[in-house]
Symmetry: C2
Subunit: 187 residues, 2 copies
């Protein structure tokens, strides 16, 4: 999916790229590229055309995976994008990706005057909120098995493309526990 | 703080209530009132003038506290407010409260045409996002003691107004563990 299709779906419009109140740049990035490193002040909002990225956070001596982003999803170190403090997350491509990049310093001026830009920003942020809220509820109320089953249902086409140890890291369990869960589901 | 002051701070404006693109109704609610019960489709956005509410969620056989909201904060079952599915959270006043109520069916029409309403909605949602994101990172990377210390720093004036067992429930620890943490901090 292209960013313009996402934009039009969200706003119920039929714009082309030249109608947008901000420019969007298309990019190809190789597997293993760090799009946003730890400590950077986020200056971009990304839209995934094709591929998968992981978002990680440091926790004591280890690193945790807090999210995966797939095709047709917006992503960035959004807290840093908003407050312009150095981010405590890192975003890395898990395969060769095609992305579109929207620069913060081109979006913010559009917010000053454009109704559409604000509607887009509001609705995109609402999506992000729902995602974070669901994740919080999952962490507080669901077992790793329940969370894996949900992930499997919503992203079955992609989940096989993510290394097992990364899925386990995301769920906060050992790879062996994940193997047991997978066997149980497949049996 | 009044809602109009919050609105003007967020938008850098100097509006009065009659300039708002939606009506806001002031209410007093007694301690122990359930503002939003489990299973309700959220139809309101609340602004806290004075008081504290808790937000709870059911988890297996128990109930967990996922958030407290204090003076000058917006709150509601926001996921349900957005997607209009029955909410899995409940909001209850912990003391007599003064609140202002903004009805969803008056806000949404304003979103269609009002730049200010969209700016307000976007920025309020950004605040909500940052809050949820911080909470997620705290749950994944911080100990209960670190989370209590932060809560104590940011809301020291209020924390004494919340029953100890509720603070412990929010932190996900036993009240006895919280007593130990408090003693350690005070010594």
């Amino acid at each position: 999916m292209q960013f313009i299709d996402f934009y039009n779906t969200v706003l119920h419009t039929t714009f082309s790229y030249s109608d947008l109140p901000f420019p969007v740049e298309r990019k190809r990035v190789e597997k293993g590229t760090i799009l946003t490193p730890y400590g950077k002040v986020e200056d971009s909002l990304y839209f995934m055309n094709k591929g998968i990225v992981e978002m990680t956070i440091k926790s004591y001596m280890t690193e945790k995976i807090i999210d995966f982003f797939f095709e047709a999803e917006l992503f960035c170190a959004f807290t840093s994008f908003l407050d312009q403090h150095p981010t405590d997350v890192q975003i890395t491509t898990l395969m060769d990706c095609e992305i579109e990049v929207l620069k913060r310093d081109r979006l913010l001026p559009a917010y000053a005057y454009s109704l559409e830009a604000n509607k887009f920003g509001r609705i995109a942020t609402e999506h992000g909120y729902i995602r974070k809220s669901n994740r919080e509820k999952d962490l507080l109320t669901k077992t790793a098995e329940e969370r894996y089953q949900e992930m499997f249902q919503t992203h079955s086409a992609y989940i096989t493309l993510i290394p097992v140890n990364k899925v386990a890291k995301y769920l906060g369990i050992h790879p062996e526990s994940l193997s047991r869960i997978r066997k149980k589901i497949n049996s």
